[in-house]
């Protein structure tokens, strides 16, 4: 099987919200590609269109125009249930507020994602334990979210996104609710996920301390791509991004 050059490929994405007060256009022809094994940072000021873009890339919103391919599948003409099916099979999410189900333990939260992806009763527990082990939280598997720290909750959220092996992981401000130490740990984990599992990882962030974990950086302003850059520095060196070709 030929490896796909991009796990996610969005071309000329626009989004228009129509209202009586006038049209609002948060995205004006945005193109994004996410390659396997890379962690891409999406940065930009508030209101620049990051969240709308993330929603479209995650098949939660449909673009007004433009094309989106995830793992080789086009979203063109998909119904709401078809979009749900595509994101269930190919997209993992990490949310700023973790969005864990408070009535389920850490392990059960991961198993819930596996259940959504159709895992069987026999394989799901092993896969859930593996995902928790990957984020080094096996010892907290049976703890309810209310008893976990912010960093632990975000690690469970990453384990949930990892479970079921999605092609793309989309993270929305994953460090915003965490202190510096936990934020760094979560970013390091996401970078490991990208490299170790050959997933494409996109992280929306305001936090400049996360720069050192990115392989690429995309800046979005006023609904357009303002710049693209690729890491030049080697690991351990000061972060240097050079304009992408």
């Amino acid at each position: 099987m030929t490896a796909l050059p991009y796990m996610l490929e969005a071309r000329d994405i626009t989004k228009v919200y129509r209202s009586e007060a006038g049209d609002i256009m948060p995205l004006k022809g945005v193109s994004v590609e996410l390659a396997p094994g890379e962690l891409t940072l999406l940065m930009g000021p508030s209101g620049s269109g990051k969240t709308t873009l993330l929603s479209i890339l995650g098949c939660i919103l449909s673009p007004t125009s433009g094309t989106l391919n995830i793992a080789g599948y086009s979203t063109a003409g998909l119904s709401a249930e078809g979009m749900a099916d595509l994101r269930r099979r190919h997209v993992g999410f990490v949310f700023q507020s973790y969005n864990l189900v408070p009535t389920l333990t850490a392990l059960e939260n991961v198993m819930l994602a596996l259940d959504l992806r159709g895992a069987s009763r026999s394989e799901a527990p092993d896969l859930a334990w593996e995902a928790l082990a990957a984020v080094r939280l096996s010892h907290r598997a049976h703890v309810m979210p209310s008893k976990l720290s912010g960093g632990e909750k975000q690690r469970v959220s990453i384990a949930r996104a990892l479970a079921g092996a999605p092609s793309v992981i989309l993270a929305d401000e994953p460090t915003a609710a965490l202190d510096s130490e936990n934020g760094q740990a979560v970013m390091a984990l996401l970078a490991e996920v990208a490299k170790g599992t050959r997933r494409a990882v996109l992280v929306v962030t305001h936090d400049h301390r996360t720069l050192k974990y990115g392989d690429r950086m995309i800046r979005i302003e006023d609904g357009r791509i303002a710049s693209r850059a690729r890491r030049r520095a080697q690991p351990g060196e000061d972060t240097v991004f050079a304009p992408a070709a």
Binding site: M1, A3, L4, M7, P36, T51, L54, I60, L61, A71, G72, E81, A84, D85, L86, R87, R88, R89, H90, V91, F93, F95, Q96, N99, V101, P102, T103, L104, E108, L112, A113, D115, L116, R117, G118, A119, S120, R121, S122, E123, L127, E130, A131, A133, A134, R136, A159, L162, A163, G164, A165, S167, D172, E192, V193, K195, G196, T197, R199, A200
Partner: protein, 402 residues
Amino acid sequence: MQTTADSASVALPGQPMPIRKGSTRLPMVPKLAYRNLFHDRLGLIVTVVGIVFSVVLVAVQFGLYLGSENRIAAMFDHAEGDLWVVPLGTKSFDDPAMLTGRERHSVLSTPGVASVQELAVGFVNWRKPKGGSTAALLVGSDITQSTGLPWDITDGSVRGLAAPSAVAIDSTYFQELGVGGIGDRAEVNNMEVTVQAVTKGIRSFTTLPYVFTTLATGRTLLGASADQSSYTLVKAAPGTSIDDLRSALAKRLPDVEILTHAEFRKRSLDYWLFETGAGAALIAGAVLGIIVGMVIVAQTLYASTKDHLNEFATLRALGASAGYINKVILIQAILSAVIGYVLGMMLSLLVIWAAEDSTLLIVMTPNLALMLLALTVGMCVLAALCAIFKVIRIDPAVVFSR
């Protein structure tokens, strides 16, 4: 930091996780429903109290309806006959008038008649031995034939009624009739009677106590002539067509009505349950119980769903189908229904047990219990629709705006 992330995935990027066909699914939907339900204990208590209230109300109302049916039909279920000769315009067994007295001979001379029994039925004034009086319904039957009346005798015997002015009454009405058992005396229409038999559980729908006696004593106490009766029960000879016999009797007796056993039974039931509005009131009470229960369950399920809306939005964002989320809500509703039903039935059986020796007859049958279970589950599932309508309108994009 040493990486361990690669241990978490088995599928290649671009390939969804393989689903093993035919494998058993995880029980996550019922688990989530159960946890959501029990997470909000107060909400659960309110829901269950609403369902219990509804189940008890519906069980008691339908139980009373069935009890009323049993009471109204009791005479028909114990008297033996294929056709009833009744005065024109008779609305029910408890609405007696007297026939002219020539009916018995006309019936007996009709071909196809095997036997005839007469019943003298009428309202009487029962004067209590210690003063005071009350109305009662006297039923006089030929105890030498197997009329089936009275039944369920717990003290004394039918033969005891052969004694002069002997009567049988039900123990339920001891207090109302001012007597305490065998040998006690009272007056019926100013004539002395003696209690010679006691029955258990023969209660009338109209709440007037039944007083059983022989046909002869009944005629005397009702002031009827020696050949008069209220009803003439006709038993057809084997092989005789009931319809043909009915036509033949109608020709001979144009001033009375000839009803089949089933017709008179139904006429009595229809009169008391529907023409008087008593049955409609019981059914209306049951419907009210269902509505109240449904509103309470709908309200609490809706509130619970609103509380968990962000989780449902997260599930939707993670790719859960609408059906997956609807299942969670429906299972919550069904769990609530089962818990409420079990507690409600226990309370209903307690109420029925407590009413056993009272003048209220509440009946619980296996069919009614099954119908109540179906009704409770149906009510809760319908109530869940409000919550489902709320959930299907969730925009999963809200997960990014929190």
